[in-house]
């Protein structure tokens, strides 16, 4: 007697081979049989007309905080994602000494745009070490988690405030190695570092103060375990990205480790950016190095209002300073003519036409209905103002609750990106799940892979797309128990409709602690998601299952 049989579907097993009609049987959380399965089960899921595939793996997320109150990493799971990798970009929620929590929260808020209430009201921060964090999330998981440990927090633990000031001494590097070993032994799937990120004050995060020798020493520890090194490079500059590829390749060859960098974007502004980076990756793989570029499927769309800071203003320091203030001070600043004059002046002589003119007024908030769908350029002309001033005044007139969409800021050419996603050395990922909450939805990239690049563009077969986000991802990360429908492996399974799987429209949701806002996309075409043999999502709803685990 099996626990469960998914019967009568088209089995796409993650290998990339053509799908076949068959069943998948589950017992004790594992796949017991694949093919024409005889015998009975306590539960049967009818998959007629559906694809039965391994659960999807999302290798670049920031669900570290959300997992403390939402073990499903909603809405990632309903898209068919059964395993997420948090702790990217040098930041994880452990190991962190109690005295350093406030400092790290600032970094998380900068990266994730998570409201402060998420850290003060949503959970009891009882742990300091990595094993403690693991224990804090593990009982509540309905999705699997393969967590990275962050270089910045390891540095902070060992060096304190000096982690953001100077190079480490030899003794400090040894202490970091010992701490990394402890984290890997406690279940970390690897180490993440960042060459880009800043904290909430604009100061570079601790990992950026590390000499290459420090990273080399930590990579040596990763080599003892064969674990992953992830980094976020200066993705906006091709020459620097290539330099980072070479550094990662050196570490990969020297220590026998896999490495990955994310994101790799395609952009019409620098059309040879991604092709040059991929060409360098090909050269390094030919030498035996493993340097996996992660490329996301979705175009870059950024939404924002003046209610909260946004990535959109990253290159306008004065705007960032104003928008980071508490609401009453922010309103006072935006009502101050001198401040506004300087803010508008920051946009240059065109008053923001180039940067802001194509912004679209979004619906769903306090925006006047007559303006929804118009460009800021049109709104500004009607008001007789330059776009930057129109943005500020329109926002003030509506309690700042007017959202603007900056659509297709890059990475939007399906014809160019499709072949890159299909490239055997390009790792599909970089969703940033759980981060940039107030700027864009980081959920549904897998649905978009199928709708845009399989069905619409035909850039790859459905079987290849499934393989890219299941077996190939599991192999890259060394997740030996995941990514395939094969007897003996963990029963992470998604049942979906090949004709309709997609991401829904991006909508604001107010489901973060403290009524915090985030943009989300619901799933389309996903019927059932099993995690370690238990149904975690079915018929449009989440179950009470808590079958997720921390997996390495």
């Amino acid at each position: 007697m099996f626990d469960l049989i998914v019967r009568g579907g088209t089995v796409v097993d993650g290998s990339g081979q053509p799908g076949f009609a068959g069943d998948v049987a589950v017992k004790d959380g594992r796949i017991a049989a694949v093919g024409e399965v005889e015998g009975e089960a306590r539960r049967v899921i009818d998959a007629a007309g559906r694809i039965v595939a391994p659960g999807f793996i999302d290798p670049h997320t920031h669900f570290d905080v959300q997992l403390l109150w939402d073990g499903a990493a909603r809405p990632a799971l309903e898209h068919g994602v059964t395993c997420v990798v948090p702790g990217n970009c040098s930041l994880s929620l452990a190991p962190i000494k109690a005295d350093d929590r406030r400092r790290v929260v600032g970094m998380f808020q900068q990266i994730e745009e998570m409201p402060p209430e998420a850290f003060t009201t949503a959970f009891d921060w009882t742990w300091e070490d990595f094993a403690g964090y693991r224990a804090a999330i593990e009982d509540g998981l309905s999705i699997n988690v393969a967590p990275l440990v962050g270089h910045s927090v390891i540095r902070l633990w060992v060096m304190g405030a000096a982690a953001q000031e100077r190079a480490a001494t030899a003794d400090e590097i040894t202490a970091m190695q010992d701490l990394l070993r402890e984290c890997l032994a406690a279940g970390a799937v690897g180490l993440s570092t960042s060459f880009v990120d800043v904290d909430e004050t604009g100061r570079p995060v601790p990992s950026r103060f590390a000499q290459f020798e420090e990273l080399d020493a930590l990579a040596a520890v990763l080599g003892e375990y064969g674990r992953m090194l992830q980094c976020v490079p200066e993705f906006y500059a091709t020459d620097i990205t290539i330099a980072r590829i070479d550094q990662l390749a050196e570490l990969s060859l020297k220590h026998g480790i896999p490495t990955t960098f994310s994101p790799l974007f395609d952009t019409s502004a620098v059309p040879d950016n991604a092709p040059r980076a991929i060409a360098r990756v090909e050269e390094q793989f030919a030498r035996g190095a493993r340097v996996w570029p992660q490329m996301q499927t979705r175009p870059i769309d950024i939404s924002f209002s003046l209610l909260r800071p946004s990535l959109f203003f990253a290159r306008l320091p004065r705007w960032v300073r104003v928008l980071r203030q508490p609401l009453d001070q922010r309103l006072a600043a935006l009502r101050d003519p001198d401040t506004v004059e300087k803010m508008v002046g920051d946009l240059g002589p065109d008053g923001g036409e180039a940067m802001m003119g194509r912004l679209i007024v979004r619906g769903g908030d306090a925006a006047p209905a007559g303006l929804v769908g118009k460009t800021l350029s049109e709104v500004a002309r009607e008001r007789g103002q330059v776009p930057a001033r129109a943005l500020i005044e329109l926002s003030l007139e509506n309690g700042l609750d007017v959202a603007f969409l900056s659509a297709s800021q890059g990475h939007q050419s399906t014809d160019r990106i499709g072949p890159m996603l299909a490239h055997p050395l390009v790792h599909i990922g970089a969703s940033d799940g759980g981060a940039h909450l107030a700027s864009f939805s980081t959920y549904g990239d897998t649905g978009y892979l199928f709708s845009e690049f399989v069905r619409k563009a035909g850039a790859m077969s459905l079987e290849k797309a499934v393989a890219k986000i299941t077996a190939e991802t599991a192999d890259i990360w060394g997740l030996k128990d995941r990514g395939r429908l094969a007897p003996g492996l963990a029963a992470d399974i998604v049942v979906f409709d090949a004709k309709s799987i997609d991401r829904a429209d991006e909508l604001p949701a107010f489901d973060m602690p403290g009524d915090g806002m985030r943009y989300v996309r619901a799933a389309r075409g996903v019927d059932t998601v099993l995690v370690n043999g238990e149904v975690a999502y079915a018929d449009g709803g989440y179950t009470d299952s808590r079958s997720g685990v921390v997996c390495v």
């Binding site: 100077r166 990992s207 000499q211 620097i240 290539i242 330099a243 360098r280 390094q284 035996g288």
Partner: protein, 69 residues
Amino acid sequence: MAELSRQRRFVTPGPDETLEQLALRALPDESPEAGADLIRSWNLHIFAMRRPPGLLLGSDVVFVEPPLG
């Protein structure tokens, strides 16, 4: 082992190394001042885009030649 194509040369700053010291190390044929000026002009990600401009970090990629043609 397969050959790598030539890419732009770079160094990383040493501990507490100043721009002038780095320039002297990377461009020994230039005067410290001229070398520093060249380094600045080839590394706008450090000397123009960063806040504060010119803050040298241990992990930085510092190019020691102009972009390849």
